[in-house]
């Protein structure tokens, strides 16, 4: 056998010599290069607080704008629209908000990802912190994705607000002082689903298909905390990182199992494209249980199949069909007038669903409004410590129909929502009503089996005067 670099075996010394020369040469070159880089970066002036100048506050988020979870892109796009709207009115206390959205592809660099090869949530977050010097990370998305950076942001003292995920990871105020969630925990959501099942289908055999990370695990934990008996064989997971044929092979098996075990109520903790795949495979297998779909994976426009009609979900915003709701009117106005790009809202400006608000937009608008409210309460003196204090003291007014409240010991965010049913999922001719709220009630609860589900009337917070 011959080798390519054969013939120099007797030249050990020369080889080392050459190696050393090469290493030193390359290090020197890199060094000289970096000298310039270092000088260049030290030239940019900053005040005492990163990201804050007399005229502006720079904040950022790592969110999926392409790839498997790109459908969530309009969440942060709606937030960006709110910030542009606020800036058009002179900003907050004279400072404009500069919102940087970095594409991290949900930390899954696969199909459709245009963030670039090798881009991760960590690398994008590092860029936000070390290059853009953001004041805070606001509205970043994804359970597994954000789980990889919470220590980084914490250790570097960067506030990490309104993480778009229902994981209970964000509710650890002792360990992570600067970390705040936004939506109800997946446990709480599952407990409300369990409440519905016990009330409406008390004899149902229950199963769950969850994403193979904390999203699915927390969802299951909530069902079990509500004392729903779920056989081990009916607790199933999927891996979001695999290709479509591989995903389908696993799902066919899972759904066949549920069908064979005569499960007639299935809770899905899945993202919209997977929800769609599950519903289609179940149809092909001739299986039609009562579906209960996490708010995260139920958006009818993203799921895009009429098979979803009849499914139960949780909604913590007013029904988007309620055109009389003042927040719905306000968000519609903001998105119509201040989109960074019309392409940010692929279904809003063109196509059969043009002009239809969806829950993603209300979500993004909600946390953007909340951030503005917190920032406004600080007055002229904007610091990170001040912001964290404001998070637990400000009484936020957002589109959400359950109150958004944080305290020194609770950083989760919303505590529940209303039960809703998907009633249409085809292109509506007029007055789109995708989701109908079931009854005029809000259900709130905590994560553990000891916190009961509490029923209350939904609230509509008045829009602050300076916003309208």
């Amino acid at each position: 056998m011959q080798y390519i670099y054969q013939g120099e075996s007797s030249m050990n010394h020369q080889r080392i010599h050459r190696a050393v020369k090469l290493v030193s040469a390359s290090t020197l070159m890199l060094g000289m290069l970096s000298w310039g880089v270092g000088l260049a970066s030290s030239a940019s002036a900053t005040t005492a607080t990163p990201g804050v100048t007399a005229k502006s506050v720079t904040i950022g988020a790592t969110v999926p704008l392409s790839g498997i979870a790109a459908g969530y892109g309009e969440v942060s796009a709606a937030a960006a629209a709110v910030f542009s709207y606020v800036n058009s009115k002179g900003g907050i206390n004279g400072r404009k908000i500069n919102y940087l959205r970095k594409d991290d592809c949900y930390n899954i660099n696969a199909l459709g990802c245009t963030a670039g090869t090798g881009v991760t949530t960590l690398s994008q977050t590092q860029a936000l912190v070390t290059q853009s010097h953001v004041f805070a990370d606001v509205g970043s998305l994804g359970t597994a994705a954000q789980g990889t950076v919470l220590n980084y942001l914490n250790q570097n003292g960067v506030p990490n607000l309104f993480v778009n995920s229902g994981s209970s990871l964000w509710n650890q105020p002792k360990k992570y002082k600067g970390l705040f969630g936004f939506q109800p925990s997946y446990q709480a959501e599952s407990k409300v689903f369990a409440y519905w099942i016990k009330k409406n289908e008390p004899l149902a055999v229950v199963g769950q298909i969850g994403q193979g990370d904390d999203f699915g695990a927390n969802g299951l934990a909530g069902l079990l905390a509500a004392h729903l008996p779920i056989a081990k064989a009916n607790q199933l997971t999927y891996d979001a990182n695999v290709t479509s044929p591989t995903l389908a092979a696993g799902l066919i098996q899972d759904i066949s199992t549920l069908k064979a075990n005569k499960v007639n109520a299935v809770v899905l903790d899945s993202i919209p494209p997977v929800t769609q795949a599950i519903l289609k495979i179940a149809y092909n297998l001739g299986y039609s249980p009562q579906w209960l779909i996490s708010s995260v994976g139920a958006d009818p426009i993203s799921v895009a199949t009429p098979l979803e009609v009849g499914a139960i979900t949780l909604d913590y915003f007013p029904s988007t069909a309620d055109t009389a709701n003042s927040w719905n009117q306000w968000v519609t106005k903001v998105i119509k007038r201040f989109p960074a790009a019309r392409a940010d809202f692929p279904n809003y400006f063109t196509g059969a669903n043009a002009g239809v608000l969806d829950a993603n937009m209300l979500y993004g608008a909600s946390y953007a409004v909340a951030f503005c409210e917190a920032l406004k309460s600080l007055g002229k003196n904007v610091t990170r410590a001040g912001l964290l204090k404001a998070m637990t003291t400000v009484r936020f007014a957002t589109p959400s129909q359950t109150p958004l409240r944080y305290s020194a010991t609770k950083h989760q965010g919303l505590l529940g929502g209303s039960l809703a049913q998907i009633i249409a999922n085809t292109n509506p001719a007029s007055n789109p009503q995708y989701i109908k709220l079931l009854g005029n009630a809000e259900y709130t609860t905590g994560d553990t089996s000891t916190t009961p589900v509490i029923t209350a009337a939904p609230i509509v917070s008045p829009i602050p005067g300076w916003l309208s």
């Binding site: 056998m1 011959q2 080798y3 390519i4 498997i68 696969a110 199909l111 459709g112 090869t117 193979g212 199933l236 997971t237 999927y238 891996d239 695999v242 290709t243 479509s244 044929p245 591989t246 389908a248 092979a249 696993g250 066919i252 098996q253 899972d254 066949s256 199992t257 069908k259 064979a260 494209p273 149809y283 092909n284 297998l285 001739g286 299986y287």
Partner: protein, 297 residues
Amino acid sequence: MSTLLTSRIMTDVFGGITSGAVIALVALCLVIVWKSTNVLNFAQGAMGMFATFVGMNLVFHDTNYWLCLVLSVATGLVVGGLTERVLIRPLYGKPEINPIVVMVGFLGLLEALVPAIWASSFNTVPSPFSQVYFQSHGNTVLLSPFVLYQIALALGVMLVVALLFQYTTLGLKMRAAALAPEVSRLLGVRVNRLLTLGWMLSSGIGALAGVIVSTGHTLDATNLDGIFVSAFIAAAVGGLESPLGAVIGGLLIGLAQQFILNYWSANLAPLAGVIVLLISLAIKPQGIFTRTVTRRV
């Protein structure tokens, strides 16, 4: 009969054959290339998907499914031939790592090139046959017209290849060229041309595998990646030399996957290949279907 068809065992057998047939097909491609040129084609899956994209992407522009399929296979043939001529020919007689590295590079190149050319969408390639599974007294038989089509296509291609090698002069020449290139050359066989033909054939079949896997799913450049690894192991189980061994190895791995999926854990299905490989190595390290050959130095 009907209870047998819907039983758990038969469900697994159907599922296993469905995935095993494609693994076997790709394994067959690897064996054809290995036999003719002693190259391990790490880009087999990516080449197949590239060809699949050329054809099947037109489905989204209202082109007939069958026309797209033919176009994909035709592209596969061309890509295979070009690859052998441009990338592999300069490397004959070089250390075995060189073609491995080149094909790994080609794999990376193609898997980046495909999404660069065809902006990936989450559109599903429509199936020409119904994907609804047959039902028997309320129970599912894990077969649908679409699944039958997949299996029939894969097995049909294997049969054609077997006939080609066994009963045609071309097949005889190809076998001769692979076995004893120097003697064949002396006997007037145009060996170089046959080597190219081997690559074309393998790449064309690879394209067909890509079409089978992608129908009913989203088109993605990496659709064949997992299958390639399984196929590689299947080919190794058979000894890399034996087409029949590769096909049997592929079906075995498909079945093993399905049984692991059903009785153990869905997450562990990819381990099927490792397990089958370990067992076969324990039985016969040179591959189940090879004659022992003394290595010349």
